[in-house]
Symmetry: C2
Subunit: 195 residues, 2 copies
DNA sequence: TTGACAGACTAATAACCATTAGCTATAATG
DNA sequence: CATTATAGCTAATGGTTATTAGTCTGTCAA
């Protein structure tokens, strides 16, 4: 791993824990194992690190949720749908880097319009669009009752997002949160799927 | 208004816009119209202001959402339920102080366990409990289909919370968000209410 | 009238912070 | 081999920050 990547990694950790204003370049340097001025061999300044970080965060998100293709093949039963969705949730909740990106974004969402926009895309837009597509396809296959796919996607994802945020804030509830999410998913399917 | 209250007001504004670490005591003093050292006649330090602020935020929240009584009398029709719920949402979205408290909490939710706990209570616990009680009562009156009241409360409130967060981040979508919330509310009633 | 107190002020301090300048050693390149 | 770039370092700088000490003024009670 290059020094540059090490800087980005450690900075993500620090920003997610203490925020941009709560982190000093000296702290970053110390975690990386260099002195603060050496950071300037790799970045123009603190804000430059922030921008590079958000770029990589976007790339990482795109990679995981950017397209409806990432759901794999279309589920063909209720249990399959639930299983795949739960797997997605588990990945999102337990992946360390994604968790840090989430906390980092939540903290800095008001910093600029760009941050606000990206946060909205991460928290609502992106995943919702993905599920809207899947639900629509499953409607066409007669697995879901006819309804507004993007509205249903919102009904599906919003409680999940809220619960994940709770788990981020209070990790002691992680287990409970995962159970509640599964309960919600089953209820959602019971209400909106056929038969 | 006492100087102490003026300090709390201006600090809430600044913290909601720039966060705790992004706000200096000098900025606070300037907004209040005094010099920074004079703040120490009213508070022990910056952190003391923060704690006093969270106390008043809790009081304000308790006052608005703390008890199921605050819904007024039980709604007796679908339209009445939607109307009252929408009014609550409008109040929450457009009240300036509540909006600032919300942004302030979102920013500082990771600062301590107390902040995390309060944020969870504000965003999920409190309102959900309130609606769970109402939905349960309305089930007993035959207005809602039989189901798990607190699960339904989550299905009801989560999308609303998500949309409000979006409106906080991107005020240009406020109007659209209000429309989407109403759409969600109508859909919710269509699915879970009788007839 | 006197004295005490609340609440403002100025001045000062010690710490911290982001950044720049300039030096050095090592590794890559011609 | 010469040189050029990379990437580390120390030292220093100018700015900001939270906080303390000590002073002054007005108000109100004794």
């Amino acid at each position: 791993m290059t020094t540059r990547d090490k800087i980005l990694n450690e900075t993500l950790t620090l920003f997610s824990e203490n925020g941009y204003d709560g982190t000093s370049v000296e702290q970053i340097a110390e975690k990386v194992g260099i002195k603060a001025p050496s950071l300037y061999n790799h970045f123009k300044g603190k804000e430059d690190i922030l921008n590079a970080l958000i770029d990589t965060a976007e790339a990482r998100y795109e990679e995981s949720f950017g397209s409806e293709k990432h759901f794999g093949k279309l589920p063909h039963s209720r249990d399959e749908f639930i299983a795949i969705a739960m797997k997605k949730v588990e990945f999102t909740v337990f992946d360390l880097i994604i968790g840090k990106i989430r906390k980092f974004l939540v903290r800095e969402q008001f910093r600029s319009e760009r941050f606000a926009e990206i946060t909205t895309r991460h928290q609502v837009g992106g995943v919702q669009k993905m599920y809207a597509k899947i639900i629509e396809d499953m409607m066409n296959e007669g697995l879901f009752k006819q309804d507004d796919p993007s509205l249903l996607a919102m009904e599906l994802t919003s409680p999940v997002v809220a619960m994940i945020a709770k788990a981020d804030r209070q990790p002691q509830y992680r287990q409970k949160v995962m159970q509640d999410i599964e309960k919600h998913l089953r209820h959602f399917c019971a209400v909106y799927m056929m038969g």
